[in-house]
């Protein structure tokens, strides 16, 4: 008998949400103990698509594991790519040329916007609004076309290499990025008029889904969930990597601790990503995109290494233990949605079922990243 069944009294019943429910955006199941329409207890059940990426990491060479990273968070795959190449570069001491760093930042931020756009559409869909999803997909498609042109794939990118990027970008890509930013700038007021200022959305999100700063700390929540709880925490500022310190951008922080705060953080983040892209495209230096002296076989010195990046969902960290051979001894993947989802069990207590679904949408979960 599980803990959740024990807590069920005669007045309550257990409701299974998922494993494949339109509101869970992936193969997640939530066992809910309901008292009428109110949630008494919520227990997420994971592992339906678990692929054991960590074990794969221990059975492949450092280079062979690279394509795996794009398979975990299929909405912001380049951030996962980025973290892994940064980790290996840190461990093996590889220098990256400037132009490659700029390309990484531009493509990464484009990918972040595309992830947030998909979240935006799907989130409003959870609340019953269908049209915004189609608008968001229209914009997202522009990014996918741009990224497809340079990386060769549409979702599970594997574009970065140890010491640089796979191939250089052309002028079309840079112009296209600029044109996209101009286009989305024009469309953002429309999104705000259509959705953010909508009274139904406000009523569904404001003061509902409470996750405060202390709860974030105890659960290790990061990303927009923490920033919606008033915590000024963004790995790009906190533990700077790549060339992010060179760009001028703000970290949106809202202290509402409710679903609306998390919504606003992501909407503002898209604006900030556009600022970064504009600056990076405007100042991208000429030069090589691959380190001249990148080693053919990666054999980092013995020891532990850690590297973290800010993905669309929060802080993604890799801890790798090297034993000095060409295969990692241990590879731990600390994914943001995993820590963010733990808060759900506590935050959903006492909520109405539809509000709990709004809360879950506001966490922006990507299940393959939790299951790995």
């Amino acid at each position: 008998m599980t803990a959740i069944a024990q807590s069920a009294s005669n007045e309550t019943f257990v409701l299974n949400l998922g494993p494949q429910h339109p509101a869970t955006h992936g193969v997640l199941r939530v066992k809910l103990v309901m008292d009428g329409e109110y949630i008494v207890e919520a227990e997420p059940v994971l592992g339906y698509i678990h692929r054991m990426h960590e074990k794969m990491g221990e059975n492949r060479t450092w280079a062979q594991f690279l394509p795996n990273t794009g398979r975990m968070d299929y909405l912001h795959a380049l951030a996962y790519n980025h973290n892994y190449v940064c980790l290996v570069e840190r461990a093996a001491g590889i220098e990256v040329p400037e132009r490659a760093e700029y390309i990484r930042v531009i493509t990464n931020e484009l990918n972040r916007i595309s992830s947030h756009l998909l979240w935006f559409g799907a989130f409003v869909l959870d609340l019953g609004g269908f049209s915004p999803l189609l608008y968001a997909f229209d914009d997202r498609e522009q990014i996918l076309d741009l990224l497809e042109a340079v990386t060769g794939s549409r979702l599970t990118y594997c574009y970065y290499r140890f010491g640089g990027v796979y191939n250089d970008v052309d002028q079309d890509f840079l112009d296209g990025s600029k044109a996209f930013v101009a286009r989305l700038r024009e469309r953002m007021p429309m999104y705000h008029n259509l959705v953010t200022k909508n009274i139904i959305l406000m009523k569904r999100l404001q003061d509902i889904g409470f996750i405060d700063a202390e709860m974030c700390r105890k659960y290790g929540a990061t990303g927009p969930v923490a920033r919606g709880a008033g915590i000024d925490f963004d790995v790009r500022r906190h533990e700077p990597y790549s060339v992010y310190p060179r760009f001028d951008f703000d970290i949106p922080v809202y202290s509402g601790c409710d679903s609306m705060a998390r919504y606003m953080v992501r909407m503002d983040e898209m604006e900030q990503s556009m600022r970064i892209i504009e600056q990076a495209v405007g100042s991208i230096p000429e030069g090589p995109v691959m380190a001249a002296k990148a080693p053919k076989t990666i054999k980092p010195p013995k020891g532990d290494y850690y590297h973290a990046v800010e993905t669309a969902r929060g802080s993604f960290g890799i801890r790798a233990v090297s034993d000095g051979t060409n295969t990692p001894y241990r590879m731990k993947l600390r994914t943001p949605s995993f820590s963010n989802l733990v808060t759900f069990g506590e935050a959903a207590k006492g909520m109405l079922l539809p509000d709990a679904l709004a809360l879950m949408g506001s966490l922006d979960l990507v299940i393959p990243e939790i299951d790995r």
Binding site: C216, G220, D232, Y306, R330
Partner: protein, 203 residues
């Protein structure tokens, strides 16, 4: 609590070894090894200091002791070979110079050999990562427990996130978190009794 105070408080725990690392090179600032009995005390200090929990994981050190013994034997053999070579060279030089041979006994005097390490049970390691929201200061706690009966105290009542992280670590390594109370598989099937991230596990 500033970094130095934290370091002192952690170092004051019995049998704790605190090591400061270069963040730019390794990715964390403080590495603390301690016995399982001191873990809860250390985590309480970090909680008081306002750290948030990043993750909990394990490392299986199967074969570590065997490798150490092999390494020690290889080092001893290499030392012996070097000494023999040196003695042979000295003899040769003395012969060429027509000097009396150096005393054999002195050259071949057996050195006090270091006793090879005893074969011991390999360890399972539990690793805890903490960080701060206001400035970057990653602290790693690591504790070792015998591999054949791995057990460390649970910290799920201090950091609620540990509830899941400990279940995941139990899934993959079979480390028992004493006092957890609900160690059912999280990511593996609910009836799983195998631990895939152990080094001797193969599907």
């Amino acid at each position: 609590m500033d970094a130095d105070t934290l370091k002192q408080r952690l170092a004051a725990l019995p049998s704790a070894a605190v090591q400061e690392l270069d963040h730019a090179r390794r990715g964390f600032s403080l590495d603390v090894s301690l016995p399982p009995a001191q873990l809860v005390a250390a985590v309480r200090i970090l909680d008081e200091a306002g750290y948030f929990i990043e993750t909990i994981t394990g490392v299986d050190w199967l074969g570590e002791n065997a490798a150490k013994i092999k390494e020690a034997q290889a080092a001893a053999a290499a030392k012996k070979a070097a000494a023999a070579k040196k003695a042979a060279e000295a003899r040769k030089a003395a012969e060429e110079a027509g000097e009396p041979l150096p005393e054999e006994a002195a050259a071949e005097e057996p050195e006090a050999e270091a006793a090879p390490p005893e074969p011991a049970v390999d360890d399972m390691e539990a690793i805890y990562d903490f960080n701060r929201y206001d400035r970057c200061h990653r602290v790693t706690l690591r504790t070792r427990t015998p591999r054949d009966k791995p057990s460390v105290p649970s910290i799920a009542n201090i950091y609620q996130a540990a509830h899941w992280h400990e279940r995941e670590t139990h899934d993959f390594f079979g480390i028992v978190f004493e006092g957890h109370g609900y160690l059912v598989p999280l990511l593996l099937p609910e009836d799983a009794d195998y631990h895939p991230l152990r080094k001797d596990y193969s599907a």
